[in-house]
C-alpha cells in the first residue's frame, strides 16, 4: 500500500522528490517506512524487463527511463539531444570542483577567456552566482545549480568523482588522446 502510494507520487512529480518532502506529504507514515518503500521500488525497477529506474539525483528520487532506450525515446520526443561543447564542459567541471570560484580563477585554469561560456551556462541555469568574493574588486563567485545535478545524474556534489591524481594522468601518456570524447551521443 505505502509502496504503491510512494510510487504514484514519484510518478506524477515533475522534479525529484526528497525523502523529506515525501515525509511531509505523507505525514501519516513513519520516515523509516517511507525509506524502505523507496528502496523496494528501486529494487523492483532493477528487476528484469523494466523500462525505468529509480535514481537518486539532486538530493531526491526520480524515475528515469533506462539509458538503453535513449535512441527510441528520442524518436518519440523529436528533440535534438542536448549537447555540450568542450568549452562548456571544461568550465562546468571547474565550477563544480572549485566552487565557489571566480571568473579569473576559471580563466587561469583554462588558459582562455571564459566570460561567454559562463554567461551561456548561467542562461542554461547550470551555473549560478553565489555572491561576491570578499577580496579587492569584489569579483562575482560562481557555483553549480540543482539543474546541474539533475542534468548530470548526480545525487549531490559529494558524489562527483574525485579528480584523478596528477601522477596517474602524467603516466597515462599518449593514449589519452585515443579515447574519443563522448561529447556526442552516437
Amino acid at each position: 500500500m505505502l509502496k504503491g502510494l510512494v510510487e504514484s507520487l514519484l510518478f506524477v512529480s515533475d522534479s525529484p522528490l526528497s525523502l523529506d518532502r515525501i515525509g511531509t506529504l505523507l505525514e501519516e507514515f513513519e520516515r523509516e517506512e517511507i525509506k524502505s518503500a523507496i528502496a523496494a521500488i528501486a529494487d523492483d525497477c532493477r528487476a528484469e524487463g523494466r523500462g525505468v529506474e529509480l535514481v537518486s539525483v539532486a538530493g531526491g528520487y526520480q524515475f528515469r527511463s533506462r539509458h538503453e532506450y535513449a535512441d527510441y525515446i528520442r524518436r518519440l520526443k523529436r528533440v535534438k539531444p542536448v549537447r555540450f561543447s568542450p568549452s562548456s564542459l571544461e568550465t562546468l567541471a571547474i565550477v563544480a570542483y572549485r566552487q565557489p570560484v571566480t571568473r579569473a580563477e576559471i580563466e587561469y585554469l583554462r588558459g582562455v577567456d571564459s566570460g561567454g561560456v559562463l554567461k551561456n551556462l548561467l542562461d542554461k541555469k547550470l551555473v549560478r552566482i553565489l555572491g561576491k568574493k570578499d577580496i579587492p574588486g569584489k569579483p562575482l563567485i560562481y557555483g553549480t545549480t540543482r539543474e546541474f545535478m539533475e542534468t548530470f545524474d548526480l545525487k549531490d556534489l559529494a558524489s562527483l568523482p574525485t579528480l584523478r591524481e596528477i601522477q596517474e594522468l602524467a603516466d597515462s601518456g599518449s593514449d589519452a588522446e585515443q579515447v574519443p570524447l563522448p561529447l556526442t551521443d552516437e
Binding site: D14, S15, R110, G131, K138, D153, L163, I166, E177
Partner: protein, 273 residues
C-alpha cells in the same frame, strides 16, 4: 579510405601536416594545444623539450595565420611565455644546477603545474559528458501530469536566482526609454542598503543620534553611503533631523507616523509605520 581511417587521421595527423590538424581540430586554448603536442611527441611532461615544442607551437600559429584564422590573444601570450622559458634554459647556469634558475626552480615548473592542473579538469569534463545526461541518455517525466490538471496550486516561492533578477533588469533597460539609462553601480546599491538599515534601526525608537548611525565598520565607503542615505531620507521627508544647540548632538527621528502610510489601496502590514 574507410570511415575508420579518416577518424584515425583526424586524431593523429602526420608530423608534417599541421595544416590538416588545424582543419580538423580546433583547440580550446594554448594549454589544450600544448598538451596535444606533448602527447603527439610522446615526451615526458616533467621534462618537456622546450625548444622543439616551442617550434611546433609557433608553426601551428603560423598555419592559423596563413589560413586567416583569428588567433586568440591567449595563444600569443603563451607563445611569449614559451620563448621566455626557452631562453632561460639556454642561459649559462651555475655548475650542477642543470637548467634551474636562481630560485632553484626549473623554468618549466610553473607551466608543468598549469598543464597538469588543466589536464585534471579536462578529464573531469570528459567524465561529466560520459554520465547519463538527462534528455540525452535518460528521460524523466518533467512535465505536468494530467492527474493534477484540475488542482489549483497555492502560490508559493519559486526558485529563482540572483542572475534571473539582473537579467530581468537588463531586459527592461534594453527596451525602456533611453533617458532612464544610467549605470547601476555598487555605490547606489550600498546607499540603498544603508537606507534599509537606517529605517530598520529607527523602527520602534523615538530618536537616535547622528553618531548612532555611524557605528560599525567605519570604512570610507560605509561613511559615504550612510551620509548619502541620510540625505536621501531627508529629501524623501522620511526622517527629521534636529539639533538643540550648535555643535550639539544631531537627533534623528522617523518622520513617518504610525498609520500614516496605511492606504485603502494597499491593505498590507506596514513595516515603517
Amino acid at each position: 579510405m574507410t570511415a575508420t581511417d579518416s577518424v584515425q587521421n583526424q586524431l593523429f595527423p602526420d608530423e608534417s601536416s599541421i595544416a590538416c590538424l588545424v582543419r580538423t581540430k580546433a583547440f580550446e586554448g594554448p594549454l589544450d594545444l600544448l598538451l596535444h603536442l606533448i602527447r603527439k611527441n610522446e615526451v615526458d611532461i616533467y621534462n618537456i623539450p622546450i625548444a622543439e615544442i616551442t617550434r611546433q607551437y609557433l608553426d601551428y600559429l603560423d598555419v592559423m595565420r596563413e589560413l586567416n584564422l583569428d588567433i586568440a590573444g591567449e595563444f600569443l601570450v603563451m607563445a611569449s611565455t614559451l620563448i621566455q622559458i626557452k631562453s632561460q634554459m639556454l642561459l649559462p647556469t651555475p655548475v650542477d644546477s642543470g637548467g634551474e634558475d636562481e630560485s632553484g626552480e626549473d623554468p618549466r615548473a610553473e607551466l608543468v603545474r598549469r598543464l597538469l592542473e588543466y589536464e585534471k579538469y579536462r578529464q573531469a569534463a570528459i567524465d561529466l559528458a560520459s554520465r547519463n545526461v538527462l534528455d540525452r541518455d535518460v528521460f524523466a517525466r518533467n512535465f505536468p501530469s494530467p492527474e493534477l490538471e484540475e488542482v489549483v496550486p497555492e502560490e508559493t516561492f519559486a526558485e529563482i536566482e540572483v542572475f534571473d533578477l539582473v537579467d530581468a533588469f537588463r531586459r527592461i533597460l534594453a527596451k525602456a526609454p533611453k533617458e532612464s539609462f544610467h549605470e547601476v553601480g555598487s555605490e547606489n546599491i550600498s546607499i540603498a542598503d544603508r537606507i534599509a538599515d537606517i529605517l530598520d534601526f529607527l523602527q520602534g525608537k523615538e530618536m537616535v543620534t547622528f553618531e548612532d548611525l555611524f557605528l560599525g565598520n567605519l570604512t570610507r565607503e560605509f561613511i559615504v553611503a550612510t551620509f548619502l542615505a541620510i540625505l536621501e531620507l531627508c529629501r524623501l521627508k522620511m526622517i527629521k533631523l534636529t539639533q538643540v544647540e550648535s555643535y550639539g548632538n544631531i537627533w534623528i527621528r522617523s518622520a513617518v507616523l504610525p498609520g500614516d502610510v496605511q492606504t485603502a489601496e494597499l491593505p498590507i502590514d506596514i513595516t515603517y509605520a
